[in-house]
């Protein structure tokens, strides 16, 4: 019984204006991985390589124990893929698409599909061309969820959805958590969704992995401190110095006697470093994934 939902080892791919080198990414079975990054960071490329839609120049990819691209057909019977640039046939109805999917996949659950129609407030007899953006996204997700695939690969599943639709989708995704045989990989700009549902976080920027860690550890390692500079520290209005006076700090912003310090190595040791450097801690805050995202990307620019 294979251990991993997927494994990507030493993947490299080169495009005219973009490259990924020696990227390794894996997800144990039964877990959820959230893929974070700005547009063009490589999230969609990674997802497409995982689906066998794009072939890497080097490296190995295994999905659900199947080797890609050689065994992509067997793999795709158990993978459900939906991306925000996926479109259905405009002239056909949603029911037609459901019937089509049912003819392809034996494990399509009709009863569950009907339920999803209700929960997502969709009409089977409606033609795709009459659907709004949000309804179309939900339709694609319905087609994928009704099969209960072992691995769900979703590229921006909640992007562009109104808050109600987003809630409906997140509720269905949360149901997958019950099953320890099913795994999810999703990328999203809604860092909030990623923060809530992910077990693992993979952070991509310009084709590089900035971080790959379990969510709790990752979120705990980042912290924001509001400090007061001790009397002997030099005052000034400059933001971060060229050389960080505090090892482990990601950014330091100073205004007069007050400073804000962000670190990605939060620990008692770091607090000591702050004190040594003359920063007196007034407040310490845990950072949201969105704040971490911005800080992390800014630092690597």
């Amino acid at each position: 019984m294979q251990q991993f939902a997927f494994e990507m080892r030493d993947i490299s791919i080169r495009y005219p204006h973009f490259a990924m080198e020696n990227i390794s990414l894996s997800l144990p079975k039964g877990q959820v991985m959230g893929l974070v990054g700005v547009n063009g960071a490589g999230k969609s490329t990674t997802i497409r390589m995982l689906m066998g839609l794009v072939k890497p120049d080097a490296g190995q990819i295994n999905v659900l124990g199947y080797q890609l691209p050689a065994q992509q057909v067997q793999a795709k019977y158990d993978i459900g893929f939906a991306s925000d640039d996926m479109r259905l046939y405009k002239s056909q109805t949603l029911q037609w698409h459901m019937d089509f999917i049912r003819s392809v996949y034996p494990q399509f659950d009709q009863a569950y599909a009907k339920e999803l129609l209700k929960r997502f407030e969709l009409i089977g007899e409606q033609k795709i061309k009459g659907l709004s953006h949000g309804q179309r996204v939900k339709a694609c997700l319905l087609l994928v969820l009704a099969r209960r695939p072992k691995l769900l690969v979703l590229d921006e599943p909640t992007t562009g959805l109104d808050p109600v639709a987003r809630d409906e989708v997140i509720s269905e995704l949360a149901e997958i958590l019950r099953d320890d045989e099913r795994s999810v990989l999703f990328s999203s700009h809604n860092t909030h969704d990623i923060e809530k549902l992910s077990d693992q976080i993979a952070f991509l920027d310009r084709g590089k992995l900035l971080a790959l860690q379990d969510k709790e550890t990752y979120l705990s390692s980042w912290s924001r401190f509001r400090c007061q500079l001790a009397a002997n520290a030099s005052s000034g209005n400059t933001s971060a110095d060229a050389a960080m006076p505090v090892p482990g700090a990601v950014s330091i912003k100073r205004h007069g006697q007050l400073a804000e310090v962000i670190t990605d190595q939060n620990s008692a040791g770091f607090a000591a470093q702050l004190a040594l450097a003359g920063f007196q801690v007034l407040e310490q805050h845990r950072m949201s994934l969105e704040e971490i995202f911005v800080a992390n990307v800014k630092r690597s620019r």
Binding site: D180, K196, H285
Partner: protein
């Protein structure tokens, strides 16, 4: 069924901490009696729509605090200790006291001033 846990996304407190606190208060209040079976980690994760790893961390913390007990293969249960409630309340008192001391220091009160304040509260009618 959300087992009565109300998790807030906008609360500054991390999710795992919210779970720990809410389950702890349920046990304290007696809503979740001793030896009651807790929902499985995955069930709670799905119901509250948080990741499995978060619930795992919360359960680990709860076990360390003695609020719950986990038996391999059978799941987690509310602690059977007869004086659990008292223990937890003692912990809560200790936390409140140290928090009070911390604030007092920020206000730069002397120890004597803090005692005086405490006296005031003890004397006040409920």
């Amino acid at each position: 069924m959300t087992y009565g846990l109300f998790l807030s996304a906008t609360d500054k407190k991390p999710m795992y901490l919210q779970i720990v606190e809410q389950i702890t208060s349920k046990v304290l209040l007696g809503d979740w009696p001793a030896q009651m079976a807790l929902p499985s980690i995955r069930e709670l994760a799905a119901d509250t729509q948080v990741s499995v790893i978060t619930v795992k961390r919360a359960y680990a913390d709860l076990e360390q605090a003695g609020v719950i007990v986990t038996h391999a293969g059978r799941g987690s249960f509310v602690s059977a200790q007869p004086d659990l409630q008292q223990q937890l309340q003692q912990q809560e008192l200790a936390q409140l006291l140290s928090a009070a001391v911390a604030v007092a220091r920020q206000l730069q009160l002397s120890d004597a001033e803090l005692f005086a304040r405490l006296q005031q509260h003890l004397v006040q009618p409920r």
